[in-house]
Amino acid sequence: MIRWCLYFACRSRSGRLLKALNFAGKFPQLDYKIAELEKMMDHPPLKEGTSPFKGADHDVEFKNVHFGYEDTEVLHGVSLSLKQGTTTALVGESGSGKSTLAKLLVHYYDIDSGNITIGGQDITDMSLKALNDQVAFVSQEQFLFNTSLYENILIGKPAATKEEVLTAAERAQCNEFLERLPDGIKTQAADGGKQLSGGERQRISLARAILKNAPIIVLDEATAFMDPENEEKMNAALNEIVKDKTVLVIAHRLSTIKNADKICVMKEGQCIAADNHDGLMKTCPEYKKLWDASVSASTWKVRE
């Protein structure tokens, strides 16, 4: 009897040990996963103030801004001021830092040194909410939330009436394709995603920004050219929303920003010149080069 008991005891003991060994293979996996989690948790959060917006006006000032992604600095001390009611364009080759500079104004990243102020108040002093109330960013991104197109526009101003939403959609030139969709503005973005072109999705984003009606607008100009067929409509829509605002345009094509109040030429992370078109054509060879390239590109034909 005792032997049997021992036999069974041994069986179940070794069984447990074996079971424990079964998990051994999982430990390196667990280790890796925990390390990944810790890495993510260790990421420093954005510096965020708590004050409301108390700037005197909506002038924007970049002062000696240095910024780098991880180890490589991409902006080496950029200073630039944008006056309320004027349009400033950032031009330069890709990689010159123009998009980065614009993203800093909407506080996508913390800068390494220098400061950015709105109406004299540092953007890191105000809460993210206060900052977001002042600035609308129309990026190249074409993301729509998985709800109706109506709700996607409503995000711009959740308290808006239906009329306001529809007007914003109309001003962003959305009507032409909304009419084509069987459920119109009630179409689900997920279904609509298949039926909407990139440019059409961007016009929904634009309608959202129009509805928001923030005093400062940061605009990626490539937005306007997703659908070249609608270029002139888009330009009309843009001209309407930028009225009386502080506007910063990330410009890819020069012809559209020729009339900007100020054009800032970016090169290798620095602002090498800032003036209007005529001034730059005379004083800035880099700008002239960009302009000439742009002119010759606009006369290109697939085949002569």
Partner: protein, 576 residues
């Protein structure tokens, strides 16, 4: 539940025999596991009968050793036969899937099916491969050995046999109820999981908008709600499932106790001998292990059905018919003036609604044809039909006089190059990315192509020139540079037809001119079908087709169309 096992077996293809063979070895292994007990029983009964001697002792010892060794051998054999077969089954299935995906219309990939494909490959197949194939033969063994055990009980004593049969029946009832709970809940859990994933993706992808429109509070709440729901569903599952596992173990305990009690009663009343009593005590705890383990393992297989459903759904997507065996080389003997591309009364619909109605036109060799019109009018669709992204609903498309469906997809693709706005480069060297265009090209030809595509200079500036790896973890290229590499690929390919989305040339401003030059280089002497957005660029096209509301409404060259005072002339005025 046997249905699931059957379904799994049906997916094993040519390895079916191997897996069946593993049933036998697994069964033999099981038998060998029980052998020491059996020998132990002999040993005790010999002692009790006073017949034990030295030789028998040695033999019994040797037999125990042999059974342990054989157990290891059979276990090894079943692992080799079955687990290995499991991996091979899925290796084959993945290859088959790859083959299948290659033959699907290109449209399948743009219709939001990418998620489905990746979840089938990354989750479903892996789950079955790792969790199910290895237990198939065990499950079969469990069923067989439970049967043998029950029969043995009948042999010993009819009353014991009947009792064990009753207990097995109780197991079947409890076990199946448990599996039903598990199946029902796995559907609910799956759904909760999917909607959670969607919400997380929405949140992660839309974080820029969420933050800049101050929706963090509202959106975080939705996300938290989803997490809580998913958590609740998982707990619901455990709450519903837990009692059944307990019940299964309770049946096991109660069953064992009942058999023991009956044995004791029979022994006391002298119906069975002391030797049988000892034997019973030895086997008692193994009596219902098989069926208990069967249901324990089965619970894992309940998810399998859903996995198999998804796998089969992807396999069920209709392939593009690729039965044509003609090649263009046979038919290229047509004269220089022959039409290279002919659309003959082509209609097309993605779903039910026609997006193209009776489109007819032709393009002669070396000509440039442009499709213009409002966005959403159907011009991209017309072009994508030529490359058989989809097949026409009615009518036909001829290339070199040959219906494109009668030509193998391979030779059609050799004949056409496509330049679109969206570029995909492989995580490979620059050189290999271009050589895809014509794998047998000499190095000089590849370099020549990059010069024509205006990318030679920037490639030479990369850390390792042509051998630089691009993509994640490698060198990053700007959008315009990627575009030019893809054009170099097409230049190298040197096919006679080029489909071009003209907007390609206007994506990236400072690269614009270089891309334009590259495109012009590519388009020399080709038959061109251009999806045009800006009219200026295609002003000199030989034929311009205005596509609006699913039809070609105007056709002719620039001058003719301008005189017509139609949509084209209107568009020219607007874009001036």
């Amino acid at each position: 539940m046997l249905k699931i096992m059957h379904r799994l077996m049906n997916n094993t293809g040519k390895y079916k025999g191997r897996i069946r063979a593993s049933y036998i070895t697994a069964f033999l292994k099981d038998l060998m596991m029980k052998a020491p007990l059996m020998l132990c029983f002999f040993c005790i009964s010999l002692f009790m009968q006073g017949q034990m001697d030295k030789t028998k002792c040695v033999f019994l010892g040797a037999a125990v050793l042999a059974s342990v060794i054989l157990q290891a051998v059979f276990e090894h054999l079943s692992n080799v036969l079955q687990s290995a077969a499991g991996y091979m089954v899925f290796a084959d299935m993945r290859l088959r899937l790859g083959d299948h995906l290659r033959k699907l219309p290109m449209g399948y990939f743009t219709e939001g099916n990418m998620g489905k494909i990746s979840s089938v490959l990354a989750t479903d197949m892996v789950f079955i491969e790792e969790n199910c194939m290895g237990v198939l033969s065990e499950l079969v063994t469990f069923i067989i050995s439970q049967g043998i055990m029950t029969v043995m009980m009948f042999v010993m004593d009819i009353r014991l046999g009947l009792l064990s049969l009753l207990i097995v029946a109780a197991f079947v009832i409890v076990g199946n109820l448990m599996l039903k709970v598990s199946t029902d809940h796995s559907v609910i859990k799956q759904e909760a999981g999917e909607s959670l994933t969607e919400e997380v993706l929405d949140f992660a992808e839309g974080i820029g908008i969420i933050k800049s429109y101050n929706m963090l509070g509202n959106r975080s709440k939705r996300l938290t709600d989803e997490f809580e729901l998913s958590c609740k569903k998982s707990i619901d599952f455990e709450v519903a499932y837990g009692p059944w596992t307990r019940a299964l173990y309770l049946t096991f305990g109660a069953g064992t106790a009942l058999v023991l009690a009956l044995c004791a009663y029979l022994f006391n009343t002298g119906r069975i001998s002391d030797i049988y009593m000892v034997g019973m005590a030895l086997f008692l705890f193994d009596m219902f292990v098989s069926i208990r383990n069967y249901y324990g393992q089965m619970a894992r297989l309940t998810v399998t059905n859903a996995c198999l459903d998804r796998i089969e759904e992807v396999f069920a997507a209709e392939e593009l018919k690729d039965e044509g065996r003609n090649t263009f080389a046979d038919t290229a003997s047509t004269g220089p003036d022959a039409a290279e591309i002919v659309y003959d009364n082509v209609s097309f619909a993605y779903t039910d609604k026609d997006v193209l109605k009776n489109v007819s036109f032709e393009v002669k060799r070396g000509e440039m044809a442009a499709l213009v019109g409002p966005s959403g009018g159907g011009k991209s669709t017309i072009a994508s039909l030529l490359a058989r992204f989809w097949d026409v609903k009615s009518g036909r498309i001829l290339v070199e006089g040959e219906d494109i469906r009668n030509v193998s997809l391979g030779s059609l693709m050799d004949h056409i190059s496509m330049v679109f706005q969206r570029v995909y480069l492989f995580q490979d060297t620059v050189y290999n990315n271009i050589a895809i265009g014509r794998p047998d090209a000499a190095r000089e030809e590849v370099e020549e192509a990059t010069k024509k595509a205006r990318c030679y200079d920037f490639i030479m500036q990369l850390p390792e020139g042509f051998d630089t790896v691009i993509g994640e973890g490698g060198a990053s290229l700007s959008g315009g540079e990627k575009q030019r590499i893809s054009i170099a690929r097409c230049i190298l390919k040197d096919s006679s037809i080029v489909i071009l989305d003209e907007a390609t040339a206007s994506v990236d401003a400072d690269n614009e001119r270089a891309i334009q030059e590259a495109i012009s280089e590519l388009c020399k002497d080709k038959t061109l079908l251009v999806i045009a957005h800006r009219l200026k660029t295609i002003k000199d096209a030989d034929r311009i087709f205005v596509v609006s509301e699913d039809e070609i409404t105007e056709r002719g060259d620039h001058d003719t169309l301008c005189k017509q005072n139609g949509m084209y002339s209107h568009m020219v005025l607007l874009q001036a």
